[in-house]
Symmetry: C2
Subunit: 343 residues, 2 copies
């Protein structure tokens, strides 16, 4: 007996099983399921097919479908420490939601900065025939990704390659620095200090450049004694802030390279009996909710557009006609000012 009504083994039902139950060919089931408009199927048949589908609890096998259509409907995301970092996870969310809107799935691998994992992860993704790849880093810097990356459409997020030969989505540090400084200037501040990071990185140069341009645009001089730098932690920022506030002509506002440093600045300002923002205004960078929103008064800061970068990366990948490759454009995403109460 080979024509039993039940599926042979303990496997999920296939289109064939549905077809048999509905008394039609497997092809017809496929047409019904995919709502193929080029062929006309009677409503009566459609109903029978759907009834059989529900009776059997059939659901398409994505692997079989992908094998046939050569579309995996999958995007890959390889990151260094992103998953570990409260800073940057929203990038994954942005990417995932954009993928989702296109019925694509996201394959996520965090390499923890290990290049052997990175290499293997890429191979795995290529084997799964991802239709696009995002290569992301936790903080904005230069990278040298594995060569095989060229085998699939890739967009870099929060990083770039030396020769700019790969499209990249990066935060507009200059605009961010400009925006922060300008906000302070507009509140009437003339002596604005900038406590910068000390380890060379794009953010350091970009934000400084933005600070300078803003001052210049508003006809204010750059006082070199107001531009300081230190490691971006609370203690060091505390120390530098105290020094700044001891100047005979002390700054009335401080732009901090990031929120952690702003936290140190807060401590120093309060410790000296000064008030924020009446005596000294503070603006940070990063918009770490946990810090910025919890500080008292809540910190006005500039946000890194992680969600937006993730989203844009996926949309870029999706915009690409099959077989073509993305132009190596460097996309600068604006960093918005998040206004709270510290300026």
């Amino acid at each position: 007996m080979s024509d039993q009504p039940h599926p042979k083994r303990n496997r999920p039902p296939s289109m064939h099983d549905v077809a048999r139950l509905a008394g039609v060919s497997q092809t017809t089931v496929s047409f019904v399921v995919n709502n193929v408009t080029s062929v006309a199927i009677s409503q009566e048949t459609r109903d029978r097919v759907w009834a059989a589908i529900h009776a059997l609890g059939w659901r398409p096998n994505a692997m079989a479908r992908s094998l046939r259509t050569r579309h995996s409907q999958t995007l890959g995301l390889i990151s260094d420490e992103v998953v570990t970092s409260p800073y940057a996870v929203r990038m994954i969310l942005g990417a995932q939601e954009a993928a989702w809107a296109n019925r694509q799935m996201l394959l996520v691998v965090n390499t923890s900065g290990r290049s052997d994992i990175e290499q293997t992860a890429l191979q795995f993704m290529l084997e799964r025939r991802v239709e696009g790849l995002i290569y992301a880093t936790m903080y904005h810097h230069e990278v040298t990704p594995p060569a095989d990356l060229k085998l699939v459409s890739t967009v870099l997020v929060n990083c770039f390659v030396a020769d700019r030969s790969l499209p990249a989505i990066i935060p507009d540090e200059v605009q961010g620095g400009y925006t922060a400084t300008e906000a302070l200037i507009r509140r009437g501040h003339r002596r604005i200090a900038f406590i910068n990071e000390i380890i060379p990185m794009p953010a350091l140069f970009g934000r400084l450049e933005g600070y300078r341009r803003a001052l210049a645009d508003y006809g204010l001089p750059v006082d070199p004694t107001l531009v300081r730098s230190c490691h971006s932690n609370v203690r060091d920022a505390f120390t530098v802030t105290r020094e700044l506030l001891e100047y005979t002509e002390r700054p009335t506002a401080i732009f901090c390279f990031n929120d952690k440093m702003a936290m140190g600045a807060y401590d120093a300002i309060k410790r000296m009996g000064l008030r924020i923002p009446q005596d000294v205004a503070v603006v940070g960078f990063d918009n770490l909710e946990l810090i910025a929103a919890q500080l008292y008064p809540p910190l006005t800061t500039v946000a890194l557009p992680h969600y937006e970068m993730g989203r844009r990366a996926v949309e870029l990948l999706q915009s690409l006609p099959a077989g073509e490759s993305l132009p190596p454009i460097q996309h600068y995403i604006p960093c918005p000012l998040i206004e709270r109460a510290s300026i």
Copy 2:
């Protein structure tokens, strides 16, 4: 002319292409690639095959392989807000690394708490024939996941169903509360306040229970005036702490339901001119790096074992012989004390 040496279209090379180049059958290529030991292949042939593979840049097609073997090598992870939250992302890392160790990939979908997305996400994963599913939530609470969840081996993380019919990995809140309190007791404290969350949730009850048990075990009375509750934010904790410190016989230590509240407690203690930990010791809960490590003095706190929970969930799934289902055990993962300088 049909037997050209080059692949027909612009598709990636297949085993067939490799076979043709190596002058062997496609079957042989498969044997070589998979290192099948049951058949003997001459070294000379193996070499020819590998040479062809490298020449063509062939790499297996995971979808074709999965279709044939009925093993997708894929695990799914559906979460509510986890990806958004700095609290819980390490759970994804734990899951991903465990999957990775088994050459499996993780499919991640964040539902943002929307049940329509949740439902669709589950369907997508079932279509992709995931071999196990993790259903995770950002904070520890009861859930009612979609019914189709029963169609695949599932483990809940940081949540549970009312009838406990699904295996779950959850933090041991009681032990966490106990550990925090015990640490304080061991430092000699006798009047230990507990500022609890006010919105009913397992964490609230568990940590309180742990607090009580620790006091009891060490022969200390529970002074009801020392157990307070408020919403878990900085402001409210600030207020409650100030009230506690105004008691004629004030507590010498405060166990805060979480790190945010500890932040408020710090403010109040400092504002009253008291020192941490000499005058008042503080212990938090959650181990939010951004807060706990940045506070001055650094905060001693209890960590939620997110990474561990993610890892355990995947290992549970992997331990399951095909076709069997996981026993609905509720696994309690210990919450370790992270010692810094506030006690």
